[in-house]
Each structure stands twice: as structure tokens, then as C-alpha cells.
């Protein structure tokens, strides 16, 4: 029969310990170094000035074109400046659009990354929950196993007790013989005399004596008998 299981035998291996330690260290490193970067990017995306830069460039481009095309004829032209105004507006609108797109992309990138991290966390949580559920089930199964074993043991003990008790009660009751060993003793009414019967807990031997004490009981039970026909 094996001994009780030792908790120490179920400790994690050195590799498992190292793996967990490295993973925790990496996680802390990530939180320390990279998480602030993403938060900085989040703030930068809120205050992004790409649109201003692009507007400045659009303005400069437009003005350079206009300045390059300046002439006496154009100065004389009554409609001077009208088409340039349209071009200027169109250029700035393009710059605004490009600037807003940059800002949007930046913010979506930040959100997507942050959400990705949160999603990883959720996946991790689900895995942890699964592991927890598995452990709960294992524990419950183990408890149930112990409970069943206890019940079975109680049943065996009860059965043995009843069987032995019945056997004890059947013991004794032998016909008393006279000194010749052949003639049964009889009472005044002519009934054959018998030795007293055993009780549930105490058997009686062939002579009607109570079998008491550990040694006598062991000898009486034939528990250590090796005779296959007994």
C-alpha cells in the first residue's frame, strides 16, 4: 500500500518556475517601458499639429506659384486674384484633409494597440478562468473519490460487523456430553443440554466459554489460518 501523497511532490519544476519568473519580468518591463510610450502617443495624437504643418506648406506652395506668376497684365486684369483665391482654398482644404487623416490614423492606431492589449488580457483571463475551472473540477472529483471511498469502507465495515456478529451468535450451543464423551447430558425434563450461545459481540467456544481478549479472539477467528479448506 502506498503512502499518502506529499504536496512537495506536486511542486512546479525548475523550468516552470523560471518560465513564470521570466514572463513576469518581461511583463513588468513592458509595462514600465512600452506602456508609457503608448500613452504618450495617445496624448500626441490628441494634440497632433500635422494639419498646421501641411497648411503652412500649402500656403507657401500657393504663394510661390502666385508670386512666380505676377505680371503687369495680371495686375491690370480686373478679375485678378479670383482664381488664385479658389486655388488657395482648395490647397488649404487638401492640407486640412490630409492633416485630419493623419490624426485619425494615429488615434486609431493607438486605440487598436491598446484594445489589442486589453484583448490579450481578456484572453488571458479566459485561460486563467479555464484553468481555475479545471482545478475546481479536479478538486471536486478528488473530494468525491474520498467520499465514495469512505462510504465504501463504512459499508465494508458494517457488512463485516453484521456477518461476524451473526457468526458470533451462532457460536456455542454445542451438545454437552457426559464424561464418556458420547452420551449427551440431559436435564430433569429429559431435554438435551447445550452450551450457552454466543452474543452478537462475544462468541463462545465449543465448551461454551466466552472468547475474550485480543489473543483468544484472534485465535478463535482463524484469521491467520493458511488452510485453504477451512
Amino acid at each position: 500500500m502506498g503512502s499518502k501523497p506529499k504536496k512537495s511532490e506536486y511542486k512546479p519544476s525548475a523550468a516552470e518556475k523560471a518560465s513564470a519568473a521570466v514572463a513576469l519580468a518581461e511583463h513588468r518591463y513592458f509595462k514600465e517601458k512600452y506602456d508609457p510610450l503608448l500613452q504618450k502617443m495617445r496624448d500626441a495624437s490628441k494634440n497632433d499639429d500635422s494639419a498646421d504643418v501641411l497648411r503652412g506648406r500649402a500656403n507657401a506652395d500657393t504663394m510661390q506659384t502666385l508670386a512666380g506668376g505676377a505680371s503687369y497684365d495680371r495686375a491690370v486684369n480686373a478679375a485678378s486674384g479670383g482664381s488664385e483665391a479658389q486655388a488657395y482654398q482648395a490647397q488649404l482644404a487638401q492640407a486640412d484633409k490630409a492633416g485630419l487623416k493623419i490624426k485619425n490614423d494615429m488615434q486609431l492606431g493607438v486605440l487598436g494597440t491598446a484594445r489589442g492589449q486589453a484583448a490579450d488580457a481578456q484572453t488571458g483571463m479566459a485561460a486563467a478562468a479555464n484553468m481555475g475551472a479545471s482545478r475546481v473540477l479536479t478538486k471536486a472529483a478528488a473530494k468525491q473519490q474520498v467520499r465514495a471511498a469512505k462510504t465504501a469502507a463504512a459499508g465494508q465495515i458494517g457488512t463485516s460487523l453484521i456477518m461476524q456478529g451473526a457468526k458470533n451468535m451462532q457460536s456455542g450451543g454445542e451438545v454437552k456430553m457426559q464424561a464418556d464423551g458420547k452420551t449427551p447430558m440431559k436435564d430433569a425434563n429429559g431435554n438435551v443440554m447445550r452450551t450457552e450461545k454466543g452474543s452478537f459481540f462475544t462468541p463462545r467456544d465449543d465448551d461454551g466459554n466466552k472468547v475474550q481478549g485480543f489473543g483468544n479472539r484472534l485465535g478463535y477467528s482463524d484469521f491467520f489460518s493458511t488452510n485453504p479448506y477451512n
Binding site: 523560471a18 513564470a20 519568473a21 521570466v22 513576469l24 511583463h27 513588468r28 500613452q39 495617445r42 502666385l66 505676377a70 505680371s71 503687369y72 495686375a75 491690370v76 478679375a79 485678378s80 486674384g81 479670383g82 483665391a85 479658389q86 488657395y88 482654398q89 482648395a90 488649404l92 482644404a93 486640412d96 484633409k97 485630419l100 487623416k101 485619425n104 488615434q107 486609431l108 486605440l111 491598446a114 484594445r115 492589449q117 486589453a118 484583448a119 481578456q122 484572453t123 488571458g124 483571463m125 485561460a127 486563467a128 479555464n130 484553468m131 475551472a133 473540477l137 471536486a140 468525491q144 465514495a148 462510504t151 459499508g155 458494517g158 457488512t159 453484521i162 456477518m163 456478529g165 457468526k167
Partner: protein, 177 residues
């Protein structure tokens, strides 16, 4: 943090659960408001249209000044009537430019807002997928626990019945009822 010393992990299960829970709480704290702002902006942003209106107003004054300076630079003797005509032309062109620019801005704004909404929906779908997966896992765990409990209860009942039956049977045989 020291980069050489490794932390000791006595209960990886708990550490794992703590980290994942904190990651979610960190997200809500650091990016929850940011996400809400982006969602609101994707639906209500009008910056391009607003800028287009401002640009048109600015362009009117700017181009008028340029025309005046060019006239001075080249010594163009514009009569008041010519100057008035020039300004009227500039205003007309600018107004047309305003209309075009604002309309273009509306289209561009709609395009960009929809692109943001589309990207947000993609991100949201990923989150939703993860959440459903997580919920599925939780539901499976709950079902497994329930099944295991039912099985254990049935097994326990069977064991009890078997034990009682064994005892009764032993009693019947022993006492020859």
C-alpha cells in the same frame, strides 16, 4: 526595476489572473475616455467644413491685398470703377470657391468620418470576438462544473444505495430472514 534579478512567482495562477485583471482596468483608466472621444468625433466631427469656411474668409482678404500690392508694384493706374470691378470679380470667384471648398469639405469630412467609424467597428468586432470567446469559455466551464456535480451526486447516491443494499443483504444472509 533591476534588469538582472528575476521576480519569484510562487502562485502563477494568481499572478496571471491579477495581471490580466489589471490590464483591463489599466485600459479603462488610460484609454476609456480616449476611446469615447474618438467614437464621438467619428460621428460628429465637422472640422474640415469649419476650416473650409474660415479659409474662404481669409482668402478673400488675402487675395484682395495681393491684388492691391501688385497694382502698386507695377504702377497700374486703376480707375475706381476698375478697382471696384476687380473687387467684385474677386468676391464672386471667392464665393464660388467658398461653395466648392465647403462642399468638397463636406464630402471629405464624410469620407474620413466613415473611415474612422469603419476602423472603430473593426476594432470593436475584434473586442467583441474576444469577449464572446471569453464568455464561451466561462459557459463551458460552468457546464462542465454542473455536469461534474450532477455526476458526482449520482455516483454518491449510487454508492450510498449500494452500501445500504450490501448491508441489508448481509443482514438478510446473516440472520436468515
Amino acid at each position: 526595476m533591476s534588469t538582472t534579478a528575476l521576480p519569484s512567482v510562487s502562485d502563477p495562477d494568481k499572478v496571471y489572473a491579477d495581471i490580466t485583471r489589471n490590464e483591463y482596468l489599466d485600459y479603462k483608466k488610460n484609454y476609456g475616455e480616449f476611446e469615447q472621444e474618438l467614437l464621438d468625433r467619428a460621428e460628429n466631427d465637422t472640422t474640415l467644413i469649419d476650416e473650409a469656411k474660415v479659409n474662404a474668409t481669409g482668402a478673400q482678404g488675402l487675395m484682395s491685398g495681393i491684388a492691391d500690392r501688385n497694382a502698386d508694384r507695377y504702377g497700374v493706374p486703376l480707375t475706381p470703377a476698375q478697382r471696384q470691378q476687380q473687387r467684385r470679380g474677386l468676391r464672386r470667384q471667392n464665393t464660388l470657391g467658398y461653395a466648392q471648398s465647403v462642399n468638397d469639405a463636406r464630402i471629405a469630412q464624410k469620407e474620413l468620418n466613415q473611415a474612422v467609424i469603419g476602423d472603430l467597428i473593426n476594432i470593436g468586432q475584434g473586442v467583441n470576438r474576444s469577449s464572446l470567446g471569453q464568455l464561451q469559455g466561462a459557459a463551458q466551464g460552468a457546464t462542465q462544473r454542473k455536469n461534474a456535480y450532477d455526476q458526482a451526486r449520482a455516483a454518491s447516491k449510487a454508492q450510498t444505495i449500494s452500501t445500504v443494499g450490501g448491508l441489508a443483504s448481509a443482514a438478510i444472509f446473516a440472520f436468515a430472514f
